[in-house]
Amino acid sequence: MTRRSRRNRGARAGAVTALAASLAACAALPPMPPAVPDDIVPSIAAPTLAAADEERLSPDGFDAVQRMAVRIRNVGCGNLSTGSGFAVDSHTLITNRHVVAESETLQVSTYDGRDIDVATTGAAALADLAVVRTRDALPSSAALSGADPEQGEEVTVVGYPSGGELTVTVGRVIGTTTDPLHENLGEVLVTDAAVEPGSSGSAALDSDGEVIGVVYAKTGDDRSLLVPQSTLSELLADDDSFAEVDPC
């Protein structure tokens, strides 16, 4: 091979190399910018309300626990007393037996002052509990908790202490005891939630708003006594548990 041919070949190789380098450099060149979009879609979706939360929305600013509470006026034969109660479905109220006892008529009113017509009243023999069926629909109702509360659990009592305004008080479950009034079979719950005469029949709720008991008395040291929800559930499950209350 001559020097000339070697030189030519070198030149060609150089040219090819230069061309290849140029092409490679082209690949490294920045691309042209894309068009700016007319509208930008946000990557974070706007917050929406879950269907379950929507159902919990109050139609009038009152909490569900207030909407399911009722005031019960027991117009007896020459006497008058008041108590509390709560709805467990659209036409059923739970209260205490002693709230509806010796009654000529029962007058039920809701948190917003509406009067509810009473159809029938039944009282339990084995516990200080009564069931009141209504003709009018009740505004809201509470579900029963599946289990009785443990010691230390928070409890919310909603009712009409002393027949006054609808009141919500908060306390904790202290424990259980045998019923000092001998009105209930089995043990009853003791809480430090403040109650007064007139609070009888109030719903005691857990932190989820479910019923864990029914207030029926207070002790000398200002503790409240509750019929546990397990007793209420058992009695509600048995149709014969509640006997109709005759007027006085």
Binding site: A11, I40, D60, R73, G78
Partner: protein
């Protein structure tokens, strides 16, 4: 390739200039120069093209950045507007919540007032019923006692003129008077019972 049958002669480049006296550039050097020129031209063309492309790209990116900036400013204005509206809505919501709280508290008060009035109404009705029962009982007592005293006065008159009446009639009348007075005592006991309530 050589013709067949001729002896192979090596081709050599002579360093001696041609006999006619003309001078020519060496072919190898000329070709290299041409190639170099072509390469340089290609490189120059490529550099110019690259430069042009880069210039165009830079312009396009500048425009792109400017468009984005414009759009960002529009969005910033929208965000500022929406923030202002959000603040206003929040303030309105706070005011509405406060009004709702006031309204619910008032509804609770009114419900309580209605309940208390209902209680008072029932208590008043029961008191009126009681008063009516007491009045009726007092009336019955007064009537019975009046009848009792009148009959006793009549009996005393009969007894003062005992010979003028049949003994059996007197005894029957005395028994009737005693019955009247017993009824008066019973009515009085009922009245005392009502008063004791």
């Amino acid at each position: 390739m050589t013709a067949p049958g001729s002896p192979w002669e090596p081709t050599t480049t002579s360093a001696v200039p041609p006999a006619d006296g003309t001078t020519t550039a060496p072919p190898a050097r000329g070709r290299a120069a041409r190639i170099t020129a072509i390469v340089l031209a290609v490189l120059l063309t490529g550099a110019l093209a690259t430069g042009g492309y880069l210039w165009q790209t830079t312009s396009a990116w500048q425009q792109h950045a400017a468009d984005w900036e414009t759009e960002a400013q529009e969005y910033a204005e929208q965000v500022a507007t929406l923030r202002g509206e959000l603040e206003a809505t929040r303030a309105e919501l706070d005011a509405t919540t406060e009004q709702l709280d006031t309204a619910t508290a008032r509804i609770t008060e009114l419900a309580d007032e209605k309940a208390q009035l209902g209680d008072e109404n029932v208590a008043s009705r029961q008191y009126l019923d009681y008063q009516r029962r007491v009045s009726e009982a007092a009336g019955v007592v007064a009537t019975a006692l009046g009848q009792c005293t009148a009959a006793q006065s009549q009996l005393i008159g009969y007894l003062n003129n005992r010979e003028a009446y049949d003994q059996a009639d007197l005894e029957r009348f005395a028994a009737d008077v005693e019955g009247l007075c017993d009824e008066a005592n019973e009515a009085n006991e009922q009245l005392q019972s009502e008063l004791a309530q």
